[in-house]
Every structure is written in structure tokens, then in C-alpha cells.
């Protein structure tokens, strides 16, 4: 376990860095998920909130690091969850500051604008690009079929934090083609989710940006899982999986930060009182099934809408089906 300490410390530091970015991953009209005037961040109250929040996140990283070092050897299982410390403690600090901002921020207009257009909502043509990555798992499946005899009798099914295989399974159609089927299933779920999000949300520039992100994620999943499927034939090439697995979230984070920092990017107006814990939107009066998040990028489900619940349950059931039906 002592060899894992630097990795766990690194994960805790990364979690802390993400938490430090949180107040900045919002449109300027939202501060700690509360509607504020555009210049509220630069007021004394706004700056004080940020300072307190940064201090709390830094403290949470230090506390987590101390706990990992102290408890790492005696409580290996505990060490697995400890890197989440900055997320949990930072999240609590976020909620505390949210209350402070709600109490201090002056009231603002909550203007919502609608174009009186009768044009139907059309998906962009480039959305067809979502179908192209199905070629990757299909090609991987074809490759595995062609080289079936070269596949060893035991195939790796899981890797540990040091990139070493820690779980194997006997060679069978189920175990060999499992990752390919998983890729297809995940991609299909992502496509359905993208369509539901597109038609269940208000028109706007951010909606298009989120669809682009979903398309990129489908490509990433297709490449990653097709690579995993080919691992029995290339057991020493796991870097092909780990490198994109690390690189994609980083590139995505940078892109999201760039999009969120664009002052021209409109932010959807939703009532403050319908947001719970800054992340959960419950508004039975709002017909939108998906609404723009106030923290981070993308959309979240309107839990006041029955269709929203149906989509969420369907999504979770589909993921569970993939996990339990396909080989582990």
C-alpha cells in the first residue's frame, strides 16, 4: 500500500484543484450557484467568499493528505476513499458559501427571453457524426474474429492502479467480445441521452456546445473500449488506453473552461428557489426536462418533471444492464 501513497496523494491534489476551479466553472451571472449581478464577484463580499472557499479547499487537501499518510498503511480500504476528501469537504464549503452569497447578494432581475419563431427544432446535420465511431468497435470485433486463434486461453478483464492486470477470465466469445458489446451499448445510451437532451431543453448556444461535447465523448468511448477489447492481442500496450483516458478529461476540462469563460455564451435563467444544494433542479412549472447546470458545464434533469425521472431511471437501468449482463 505504501507504493500507492504518491498516487493517492496525486488524486487528492487533482480533486482539490478541480474544487478550486468550481466557482469559475459557472457563467458570470451565477456565483456559488446563486444569481448575482455581473460585478458581484469583484465586490468585497464576493472576494471574501472566494477567499474563504479557497482556504477551506486547501485545508481539505492538507487534511486528506495527512490522513492518507497516517492511515494508509493500517487501513488500506480506507485509503481508497480518502482521496475523495477534498471533494466532500470542498463541497460542504461550497454549500456554506452558497448560503452566504444568497444572504448578501442584492436581488436581480430574472429575465427570460423567447423568440417568437415557429420553426421546428432541427438537429444539426453534423450530429450524424455520432454514428461513425460505431466503426471502431465493429472493426475491433472483426480483428478479434480474424485472430481468434492468437488470443490466449486467459484474457485480462481488469487492471489495477499500477496498470497491472488484477483480474482474468477464461477465453470465450462472452469475455472476448464483452468490451466491444459494452462499447456499442454505452454509445447507444449516449446517443439516446443526447437526443433526449436536445429535444427536452430550451434552444440556445450552450445546447449546441453540449451536443458537440457528447459527440466527442462518444468518439472517446469508442476508441477507449475498442482498445480495451484488443488488449488480449496486445497485452503490453495498455498505454494506448491510459494515455487517452487521462488526456481526454484534461482536454475536456480546458475546453469547458474556455467555453464557460466566453462572455457571449448565454446563461439560462432559472429561479434560484428551484435549485437545491446548487445542483438539483426541481420545478414542476417548467416544461423543460433538461436545464443548464449552474455549476460546471452541461445539462441536468428537472426533477420536477415526470419525464425527467423516467429518463433518469431508464439511463440508470441501461447502465446497470450493461454492467451486470456483460462480463466483469
Amino acid at each position: 500500500m505504501s507504493n500507492d501513497l504518491p498516487t493517492f496523494l496525486l488524486i487528492a491534489a487533482f480533486m482539490g484543484a478541480v474544487m478550486l476551479l468550481m466557482p469559475h466553472l459557472s457563467p458570470s451571472r451565477y456565483f456559488f450557484a446563486i444569481t448575482v449581478t455581473p460585478n458581484f464577484r469583484s465586490t468585497a463580499a464576493g472576494r471574501a467568499s472566494l477567499r474563504r472557499y479557497y482556504a477551506a479547499v486547501v485545508c481539505s487537501v492538507i487534511i486528506t493528505a495527512v490522513l492518507i499518510v497516517r492511515l494508509g498503511r493500517g487501513w488500506p480500504n480506507l485509503t481508497l476513499v480518502l482521496p475523495l476528501g477534498p471533494t466532500i469537504l470542498g463541497g460542504l464549503a461550497f454549500l456554506w458559501e452558497r448560503r452566504q452569497v444568497a444572504a448578501q447578494a442584492p436581488p436581480v432581475y430574472a429575465i427570460r427571453e423567447a423568440e417568437l419563431s415557429t420553426e421546428d427544432d432541427h438537429l444539426p446535420r453534423w450530429i450524424a457524426l455520432m454514428l461513425l465511431p460505431f466503426a471502431f468497435p465493429l472493426a475491433a470485433a472483426q480483428w478479434l474474429r480474424a485472430r481468434w486463434n492468437e488470443i490466449p486461453q486467459r484474457v485480462p478483464t481488469h487492471w489495477d492502479i499500477h496498470n497491472q492486470v488484477d483480474n482474468w477470465a477464461d477465453k470465450s466469445a462472452h469475455t472476448v467480445y464483452g468490451p466491444v458489446l459494452y462499447a456499442g451499448g454505452m454509445m447507444l445510451i449516449m446517443i439516446l441521452l443526447t437526443l433526449a437532451m436536445f429535444y427536452g431543453s430550451r434552444r440556445g448556444r450552450q445546447r449546441t456546445a453540449v451536443v458537440k461535447m457528447m459527440v466527442a465523448t462518444i468518439y472517446f468511448l469508442a476508441l477507449l473500449l475498442s482498445g480495451v477489447a484488443l488488449m488480449p492481442l496486445m497485452p503490453n500496450s495498455s498505454a494506448l488506453i491510459w494515455v487517452p483516458a487521462v488526456l481526454f478529461p484534461v482536454v475536456l476540462l480546458v475546453w469547458v473552461y474556455k467555453v464557460m469563460s466566453d462572455p457571449e455564451m448565454p446563461a439560462e435563467t432559472t429561479p434560484d428557489e428551484c435549485w437545491y444544494l446548487g445542483n438539483f433542479y426541481v420545478n414542476a412549472q417548467d416544461p423543460a426536462i433538461f436545464v443548464q447546470k449552474r455549476v460546471g458545464f452541461g445539462y441536468t434533469i428537472n426533477m420536477g418533471n415526470r419525464l425527467g425521472w423516467l429518463i433518469m431511471v431508464g439511463f440508470l437501468a441501461a447502465i446497470a444492464a450493461l454492467i451486470f449482463v456483460l462480463p466483469q
Binding site: 436581480v108 427570460r112 423567447a114 423568440e115 417568437l116 415557429t118 430550451r202 432559472t270 412549472q285 416544461p287
Partner: protein
Amino acid sequence: MGAPPKIRIDLNSQVPAYRQIVDALRVLLVDGSLEPGSDLPSIRRLAMELGIHFNTVGEAYRTLAEEGWLDLRHGRGAKVIARGSPGTASAERLQDFRAQLRNLVAQMRAAGVPRTRIASELRSLMEGLNS
């Protein structure tokens, strides 16, 4: 072809949302931004974009239909119709409008809008009506 007109509502306003929609649409109808024959978005579409209940938009459309501005077609949204000239407003109605106008001007003054600016806004509104 120009961009379609827009309406705005304030979700925090004390004025009911349906009343805000009626007022905003009536402004567009009076100034000719919405001409007879133009289609309005369906109730479902407009409710979605404004983030309010379907019934609220439906009530707004019905109010305007009762005033003679819209023809509501079941399941197909609403169409702007040519509205015949209404009879002259009664003295009480004119008194009510005057009170509303005075109230609005007082609100603008209280919010710090200078007299000259209020006068120019009123002039520009009148020019719009005369053109």
C-alpha cells in the same frame, strides 16, 4: 427576412407571467412587429422557452384572442388576425389608462430616469404609433 421578434418576462416580477406575456405580445401587435397572418409559436414551444407552465401561455393566448388579436387553432398554435377598430374607449377607461401612465412615469422617476429621457421615450412611442 428579419429575425423573429422576441418577448421577455421577469420570473421574479410581482406581475403574473401570463399578464407579462399578454402585455409583451400586445406591444408587438400594436406596433406592427406581428402582422396579421403571422403565426405564433405553439403553446408548448413558448412555454418551454419561457420556462413556465403550458396553462400560463394558454391563458395569455386566450386573453389576446378575446381581445380580437389572435385566432386560436386547436393543436396548431395561434395566428395573428386583422383586428377591426374598436369603439372609442369610455371616459372611465381613459381615466384608468391615465392613472397607469402616471404610475409608470412615477416609477421611472423614482428609478432615477431623467424627465427629458421620459419625455423622449414617450415622443418616440407616439412617433411609432403615427407611422
